[in-house]
Every structure is written in structure tokens, then in C-alpha cells.
């Protein structure tokens, strides 16, 4: 098992290097520069914009910039944002709490909905419950979050005036009032995102369960006279969870990476909105750092998923 983990770890290093190289080259080749706003400002002579480009090394050859970046990264220096002239790690850490809170809650909501519904639907396939759940799931993942987000805003903020649609990080008040406000402003984004993910996850859980539920050992268990609940939970779910774990593990980076669209609609100051505003202002160091962190997380959670497989089904680690 430990050899298996080590082997997986060693593969991760070159993949990260490769990913960083690809990201860097793509970003370097992308058009635009962080000082584009200066171009139409009549008070700023163009030499100043050119001097700034030179100062920040935007005119150096790509390989040189990449080596600089890699070297700095190995020393724990994430670089600094051209646009806000502060360190990228500070910027990311500032954005992380909102993302973890909102996107994390949405993931939990998705799991809380998807697993019971998926499991129950699978135990009674083609029943009325199953059909309703299926229909809702199809509707759920066919509606994009930008649509449901705006729909929610129109219903709950504009028409009913129940919930705020601008997320603020500095809610006034303390104690229980603060907690309630934090929950109140997260209801809409969490619901929009959570239900969207729950929809696809429900379908996945259901089909994984159905694959297992028809296997002979399940029939054997039933024949032994075990109760329905025990069969489902102990015998079916454990095996059905292997593909589900993959899905969840691979979605974990998204929790850290934020949900770009949802964050934009509700003005949640998370990583996703940081990424999009940095892309729009060509703030390459921030884009590079965020996407690279994202890549690291994908690699890390892949690794965790692999290890979990080994635990759920020991045969996998022997191969």
C-alpha cells in the first residue's frame, strides 16, 4: 500500500511541472496587458505604460519569465499582483473563506440531497418517487446556474424582498445576529449551486446503486434473511460508493476554486471572482497562481481518491 502511494506521489511531480509550464505558456501568449486602462488616459504619456511593462518584465522572453516564476515558487514566493501590487498569497487567502463557506455549504447540501434521494430511488426503480426524482434531476442540471441565480434574485430579492442579493463580507453586528445574517445572505447562492450539483450527483448515485443492487451477493444477503435497510447500507452502499467517491473527490478542488458564475452573480468575493477579474485585467501572476493551485488540488484529490479506492477495494492497490 505504501509503495502504491509513493508511486502515485512520484507521478504527481512531473505532472505538476508539466501543468505549470502549459499554463504559463498559454498565459504568456494570451493577448492584452495589465496596463491597458492607461492607454486611453490622456494624462498618462504612453512611455509610462511602456516603462511599467518593462519594469514588470512583461517584455522578457517566455522561458526567462517561466524560470523566474518557477524559482520564486520553489522559494515559497507566489509573486505579486500587477494590478493591486500586493502579494498573491495574501490576495488568495483573503478570498478563500468566502469561497470555502459558500461553495463548501453548497457541496454539503448537494451530498445531503443526492445520497438519500439517489439511494432511495435506486431501491425502488421506476416507482413514482424515482420518476419524480429523475425528472427534477434532469431539470436541475439542464438549467445553468446563471439562469437560476437571476431567477432566484428576481423572486426572492426583487419581488418578495426576503433576501439580499449582494454578499457582504463585513456584516455588522455580533453573536447570533451575525450568524443569522451570514446564513441569510448565503441561502440563495448555496441553493442555486447546491441544487445544481445535487441534480447530477443524484443521477450518479442512483445508477451506481442500481449496478450493485442486482449483483448475486446482494440477492444472497437478502436470502439469508437480512433486513432491507441492512442490505442497502452495509452491502450495497459500500461498493456503490467507489465511483461516487471519485466524483466527490474530483469535485473537491471546485470547492477551493470557487464557482465563477455564481460568485459573479451574487458578488461573493471568492476565488472564482478573483480569477475572473484577474483574467479580465490581464493580471497574469494572480491567474497563474489560482489556476496552479487549482491544478495542485486536482492532482492531490486524484491521489486521495486512488488511496481511498485501495481502502474500499484492496485489489486495486495490488495491481
Amino acid at each position: 500500500m505504501s509503495q502504491y502511494v509513493l508511486r502515485r506521489l512520484l507521478i504527481a511531480v512531473p505532472s505538476l511541472l508539466g501543468i505549470s509550464l502549459v499554463l504559463f505558456v498559454v498565459l504568456a501568449l494570451a493577448p492584452g496587458d495589465p496596463f491597458s486602462e492607461l492607454a486611453t488616459n490622456p494624462n498618462v504619456p504612453p512611455e509610462v505604460a511602456l516603462a511599467l511593462r518593462a519594469k514588470f518584465g512583461l517584455d522578457d522572453p517566455i522561458y526567462l519569465r517561466y524560470l523566474h516564476w518557477l524559482n520564486a515558487m520553489l522559494h515559497g514566493d507566489w509573486g505579486f499582483s500587477f494590478v493591486s501590487r500586493m502579494n498573491v498569497d495574501t490576495l488568495i487567502l483573503q478570498r478563500l473563506p468566502a469561497t470555502l463557506y459558500v461553495i463548501g455549504s453548497a457541496q454539503i447540501l448537494a451530498l445531503l440531497v443526492a445520497i438519500p434521494v439517489g439511494v432511495y430511488a435506486a431501491t425502488k426503480p421506476y416507482s413514482l418517487f424515482d420518476q419524480i426524482a429523475n425528472t427534477l434531476a434532469f431539470v436541475g442540471f439542464s438549467l445553468p446556474t446563471f439562469f437560476t441565480g437571476i431567477l432566484f434574485i428576481l423572486i426572492f430579492s426583487v419581488t418578495l424582498d426576503w433576501l439580499p442579493f449582494v454578499y457582504t463580507t463585513d456584516i455588522k453586528g455580533t453573536g447570533i445576529h451575525w450568524v443569522l445574517e451570514m446564513i441569510r445572505q448565503a441561502i440563495m447562492p448555496v441553493a442555486v449551486l447546491g441544487l445544481f450539483q445535487a441534480a447530477s450527483m443524484t443521477r450518479f448515485v442512483r445508477s451506481a446503486m442500481l449496478d450493485v443492487i442486482r449483483l448475486d451477493y446482494v440477492t444472497t444477503a437478502r436470502a439469508k434473511g437480512l433486513g432491507q435497510a441492512k442490505v442497502i447500507v452495509k452491502h450495497v452502499m459500500r461498493n456503490a460508493m467507489i465511483p461516487v467517491v471519485t466524483l466527490i473527490a474530483l469535485q473537491m478542488p471546485a470547492v477551493f476554486g470557487g464557482a465563477i458564475v455564481t460568485e459573479q452573480i451574487f458578488r461573493i468575493p471568492g476565488i472564482g471572482s478573483l480569477l475572473i477579474s484577474s483574467i479580465l485585467s490581464n493580471d497574469t501572476p494572480v491567474v497563474m497562481a489560482v489556476t496552479f493551485v487549482f491544478a495542485c488540488l486536482v492532482v492531490l484529490f486524484n491521489l486521495i481518491a486512488d488511496v481511498l479506492y485501495g481502502w474500499l477495494d484492496p485489489r486495486i492497490s495490488l495491481r
Binding site: 498618462v44 512611455e47 457582504t168 463580507t169 478573483l274 485585467s281
Partner: protein, 596 residues
Amino acid sequence: MLDKELRSMIGQVKDGRMDRRAFITRMAAVGLTAPLANQILALGGVAMAEGASTYKPTKRGGGGALKLLWWQGPTLLNPHFATGTKDQDGARLFYEPLACWDPDGNMKLVLAAEIPSIQNGGLAADGKSVTWKLKPGVKWHDGAPFTADDVVFNWEYAKDPATSALTIATLREITVEKVDDLTVRILFNKPTPFWADAFVGAPNTIIPKHLFKDYMGSKSREAPTNLSPVGTGPYKFVEFKPGDLVRGVINPDYHMSNRPYFDSIEMKGGGDAVSAARAVIQTGEYDFGWNIQVEDDVLLRLEKGGKGKTVYAVGGDTEFIALNFTDPNTEVDGERSSIKTKHPLFSDPAVRKAISLLIDRESVKKAIYGRAGRTTANFLNGPEKFVSKNTSWEFSVEKASKILDDAGWKPGADGIREKDGKKLKLLYQTSINGPRQKTQAIVKQACQKAGIDVELKSVVASVFFSSDVGNPDTYSKFYADMEMFQIPLSQPDPSQHMRRYLSTLVATKENKWQGTNFPRWVNKEYDATIQAADGEMDPVKRAALYIKANDLMYQDTVFIPVQHRLKVEAAANNLRPVVSGWANETDNLFDWYREE
């Protein structure tokens, strides 16, 4: 108004033979507005009356929280590094300039004690220096006194190229010296009729010497106060999250009486203009929304029964179509749109005239800009005294067709006009932006009717406006026949703006396309006019020179103005914001209050 008469009147006011009020009344009688009269007086060497204030509250504070929504939040709070207005707006909450501009383009004192004039000895008669007296008793938020040393320091700080301050452009051209603790003198190397650039307005606010003196030059990025400003402004800094949030609380020692009105201030960033308009106008979650560039019919719909309204400010921003005077399709020494070429179609003035007749400015206003736009024939649309009255515009497909017929452009088999084997096919580019794409469609349709084939192209704004030399799609490379955008006029003076089109500033490969004359229009008379205006101390003559410069562009159809654009903001119904077309939105924040 007769030049001579006006001049004698200014003389009378100067000598005290006529009082200011009488002067303004006489000006009004000939159709000039009071602020305009004031400006003429001011630049004529007579002290400008400070812009009238509409501020009503009689005590400091008590106004609760002011919630501002900036759909692009500030990303840094050092005014010397501000790349865009959003950053200047954020820094301006805490830092202050010597003076700023009110909605009429009048000067309003902030840290200065009086407006420099020839009478009070502030302005040198030769236009080569200006002396500012500072307000006594002003304190930084940490209690240190604000003095002339701070002003001088800002100049030293920014003019050092290693600091990489964006204010270097203004400050490297001048010399700033301390006269005494509360007096500074700015020296210009040539007569400078518009002397109110350095240290005036939101882009030129002053940072404290005692907190920044150890962080000059290459160490500028390390200053802890870059992210936590200590200023002299109405609000004290509390918290900053780049792109997301800026927060401040009332400064109880603020140097203006009864101000500010609000107890705390919050500037929230992110999102887009439409939802910002909704949060202010429709749901009232926020008090003020910045830069609401949204189609007018959307705003009208939101305003119905809403909790807020739109607020407009008139400045001098013009949305225009520029015509390329060089050939974008021929390469000379590896350079397209080279100054060595002539545009194959636009070199015929008839074609340029015809295109101008095909821009339906009234329809663009009706269908797109609504209350936020005014139709105009001028490139230079403000301040009022610099606006030409000699021009007019018209939309007529028939007239355009006739001009083209007369010039020998005959429709070919495909309905597109041609002459000497050259077809009237044009490439028309702009940045991606709803109103711009709609305008493009309106123009294309009219051109089609007149037998001109227009191909539309739109480029992402961050590429179009970039200074990236390697990119072929920037507006300054101008690899198209026509292009549309606007260049903001950030101060109530056209000198910077009009100097861009000197023939020495043509954008070429040699200057890495950083030359500002992107239409590559060369006109000796224009050059001479701008150069004369640059050193002209007589305000009346100077205004006439800029009007002439505008008319030269008009005669040659260099730019086809589409709309004179107003600033659009959203505000709660009970909020009384003061917004100037000549200043940043937060520049007059000390005068904002809420009507109970």
C-alpha cells in the same frame, strides 16, 4: 460675444470697477452660463468664485452608513499607483488633493486655503509658476500635521521612475518647492495656461511624507500604508479587500465644518452594471451605484416604482468613429497603416463626408444612449467655452449617395459603389460592449443603403485598449478603416486631449505604436493651432484656438462624433450626491448627504 468687449469687462472686474455679480449677469445676457462666466474670469486672471455648495446639514455625522456599489471594486489604495478611475475613487475616500472640480467645472478648495489668482499673487503673470496656500490646522488621520513638506514629498516620490508611479506623467514636468510651512510653489518650464493639473482632482491626491518617506523608488511596493491609507479626508480607513471591499469611518477632526454627514462608508466591488443598477434603483440595498452603463430602457424600467433613480453629470466625453488616414491593408517596411501610405478610399474627402452623413446620431441616441447621450457634431464637447458653435451634423442617405455619385463612385453589379477598380468596402472595429455593437449595426445598415459595404469587427476591451506591442488588434495600431470608442476627458481643460493629434505624435512602428495620433491625420494648421494654444495665456484667445482646432478636425472629417456621453450613476431617492462630469465620483463626497 465680442472678444474686445469681453476683455474690457474682465479688465473692469480686475480693477474693481465692475463687481463679479454684474459681470456674470452681463455674460448671462449674451447667453453664457454663470459657471462659464466664472471660468472665463478665473482664467482671465481674476480669482474664481468657489463652486457654490448645496450642502445643508448643520452638524458633523449622524447620517448613518453610506453604502456604495462599484461594480469594479478598487484593487489598490495608493493614488500614485492607480491604473484606473476605480482605484482613484477608492483612494480618494481617504486622501485629498489641494482642490477638486464641482459639477460645473468650477474649482472647489479642499486642502488649499485659497484659489491662486493674479490678484492674490498665486499666479505668475507669465504663466510659469503657481503658488498654493495650504489650509492651516489640517491633520493626517494619525494626528501629524499636514504641511508643505508633504506636498513637496509627493512630487519627489512620484517623479522618481523607480517608484513607477502613474502620476509621474504630471509631476516630472514641474518643479515643486516649499516657500514656508503652509505655502508651496510649482514652477513650470514654459507658460502653462492650465496650471491646475498637479495636486488637483482625484488622480492627484496627496499622501503623507512621514509614512512614505522610507518607501521611495524601488521600495515603493513594500510600504505597509499602500494597503491601509492614512489620509486627511472625511473618512478614516478601516478595512480593505482588493476588488471586494473598502470601509471607513467618520473622521471627527475633519477640516471642513459640519462635514462629513455619514458616520461610516462602505464601497463594495464586483458584479456588473445591470445588477448594480438593480441593487440601487430597484431593491435599495445600496445607496449609490457607480458608472451605470446600461441601455436607457432598462434603467427606465427599473426606475418604475423603484427606490432609486439615475443621476447624470455632464462632462466632455465623446463617443466617436475615427477614420484611418493611412492604408491598413498595405505593408510598408513591415508596417501596416504606415504614415508613408494614403488610405485608398478615405483619401477622397467625398467618401469621408458621405460616411459622416450616414451616421444616424439621433437614432443611436434614441435606441441606445437615451438620457445619457447628446447628439453632437464636435469632437470637443466641453467645457462649454471650448465648444464650437460653427458645426452641424445631418443624417441623410440621399445626400451621402449624391456626394458619392458626384465624386464618381458608381454602384457596381453587386450594388457596392466603386471607382477606378476600388470598391467601397470598409472594416469598422470597436471594443466589445453592448451599446457599441448596437451602434455598429445601425451604421452598417445606413451604409448599405448608400452602397457602402461595411464589415464589422469587435475586439475584447482588454486587448483593444492594451499597450501590448505584439498585438495587431489594438486601437493604436488601427489595422482597420474605421474604429469607434471614446477617450475620457478627465479635467475641465482640453489641452492634454487635443495635443494627442499633433502630426509629430502619429502612431508608428518606430514609437511602438505609442504615438497618440492614431487616425494618423497630418495637418500643419492644426499643429500650429495647438502649439499656439499651449502657450496662450489669454483665456479668450485660447478658447478660440481650441474651437478652431475642433473645426479643423470637423472640416477634414477625422472623427465622426456619435454621442456626447454623460456620466450615469444610480442613487437612492433620498441621497443627495454631488457628481461632476469633470471629477471622479468620490471627489465631492464631503458634500454628500441624505434628505430626511
